[in-house]
């Protein structure tokens, strides 16, 4: 009889956490595994290397929740970089005005508020599981009283929604347009 070991599928996260020191990378891996994040210690490719020669591969979409966890647990790291591409999260936003409402688009997320009242009317776009939850938390709340997606969400979609909310608050502060 031949025994075949079942092969574990390789982890494909798409993102790297970079560190100044090896011990920081090891601690970060331990903290993340303690919270059930799928991660892997890897050697960063030379083009992305900064600091030490050990990195932690993460599921890039979970970047925002991971960075918040690191702030809470005081875990030191240099930065998060995607394994492919330019390495920068989208910063630019687009604004569309309706008759009495303004829609701000940040990446794949859109947030719309009433220019007279500052109340969030709608949120659309995205596809990560925290988005319908954030939708329920934000709709019908005043911009100034709404929870920040970056405090209660976990994913890059939530990060984009946070960008949209910040821009909406800025427009509202300036008079709604």
């Amino acid at each position: 009889m031949i025994f075949r070991r079942k092969k574990k599928p390789p982890f494909e996260g798409g993102g790297l956490l970079l560190f100044e020191k090896v011990e920081e990378a090891i601690r970060a891996e331990k903290v993340l595994k303690g919270k059930n994040y799928a991660v892997k210690l890897v050697a960063p490719p030379p083009t992305l290397r900064k600091g030490c020669d050990l990195a932690v591969e993460i599921n890039l979409v979970e970047q925002m929740g991971i960075e918040r966890l690191f702030r809470q647990k005081d875990v030191a790291y240099l930065e998060v970089v995607p394994l492919k591409g330019g390495g920068e999260v989208l910063e630019i936003v687009k604004v569309t005005n309706f008759k009495e409402a303004t829609m701000v688009k940040a990446g794949n997320m859109k947030l719309t508020f009433d220019r007279n009242t500052g109340i969030i009317l709608n949120a659309s776009g995205g596809g990560c599981p925290d988005i319908p939850y954030l939708h329920a938390q934000l709709i019908d709340k005043k911009l100034t009283e709404a929870p920040r997606p970056k405090e209660i969400g976990f994913t890059l979609c939530a990060l984009m929604m946070d960008r949209a909310l910040v821009e909406c608050m800025e427009l509202w502060r300036k008079g709604g347009i």
Partner: protein, 302 residues
């Protein structure tokens, strides 16, 4: 059978499979009430409105609670990977979930073991992960919006938050270029319905139709109106319309429902969904040739 899977924003909801019913602002699933808001619930509600009108079997839904931490999403992937060859759906719709590339790869492998391959439709993060893992061409239909087509056309991005800013800044009139790039990079499904000011229906890289009327710009602001289009496409594909016809009619019906609802930026998606029966009654025969519907899953074409 049409199977729709995705996460819903009910923390702690266990993995649940079954038939749903529409209850105004809610979907009823066993004893659970799921709010009909942006996401998988909106997609299911639209699909259900279409199957009810066409007197087809209602969709089977596989949902799980997940607030973004990913535990529910993992259960969803693992259930589908294990059971999809036995469930053997005719149409499989993959929607909201945490994008996990290795699990999506295993799921696609599992689908390929099905005796008869289902029509595979992906939207939201299921579309993101299919593209990121290089599996887009395994799918029959994607339904991206204007930003998401830029993501499909970006050779490197694994999430729309990381698309090249020059692609994000693209004017809507350049959508055909992005469509072309997405096909060149194998980042697109066989059929794309690109949702936007102009809806593009694209088959194997060729734009075969555009839909611009009625023009209801407010729909873009309403959370869930992209999800409803995907639900309609799925239902019409399940009704055995050609996939491009399903996409064209879905885009028209969604716009018309926005008109019927007199949509404003504050309209809720369930108010759009509640218009679908009237839209179908008035226009489906004209648009599709489906003018007489019999019981038991037969659709007569005049």
């Amino acid at each position: 059978m049409m199977l729709i899977s995705g996460t819903v924003p009910i923390k702690g909801l266990p993995l649940t499979i079954g038939e749903v019913r529409l209850e105004e602002e809610f979907l009823g699933l066993n004893d659970i009430k799921i709010p009909c808001t942006q996401g998988t619930a909106a997609l299911i509600s639209a699909a259900l409105a279409a199957t009810e009108y066409l007197k087809l079997d209602p969709p089977q839904v596989l949902v799980v609670g997940d607030n973004g931490e990913g535990r529910g999403s993992r259960l969803l992937y693992e259930y589908l990977i294990k059971n999809i060859p036995d469930l053997l759906p005719d149409v499989l719709v993959l929607h909201y979930c945490l994008p996990i590339m290795d699990l999506m790869r295993k799921l696609v492998e599992s689908v390929e073991r099905c005796f008869k391959k289902p029509i595979m439709i992906a939207d939201a993060a299921s579309m993101y992960v299919a593209k990121a893992a290089g599996l887009a061409t395994k799918f029959d239909i994607f339904t991206p919006d204007a930003t998401e087509i830029a993501f499909l056309a970006d050779p490197d991005a694994t999430h729309p938050a990381y698309i090249n800013k020059h692609l994000f800044d693209t004017d809507v009139t350049r959508t055909p270029e992005l469509v072309d790039a997405a096909y060149q990079l194998k980042g697109a499904a066989k059929l794309l319905l690109v949702k936007g000011t102009i809806d593009y229906v694209v088959r194997d890289g060729e734009i075969i139709d555009t839909i611009t009327e009625p023009d209801i710009p407010e729909l873009e602001a309403i959370g869930g109106t992209g999800d409803t289009i995907t639900g309609l496409v799925a239902a019409f594909a399940y009704a055995e319309l050609e996939l491009h016809e399903a996409a064209i009619i879905a885009a028209r019906a969604n716009r018309m429902a926005g008109k019927f609802a007199q949509a404003t930026p504050g309209t809720k998606v369930w108010q759009i969904i509640s218009q679908f029966p009237d839209v179908f009654k008035e226009y489906l025969c004209e648009w599709s040739g489906v003018c007489y519907v019999e019981d038991n899953r037969s659709v007569s074409i005049t």
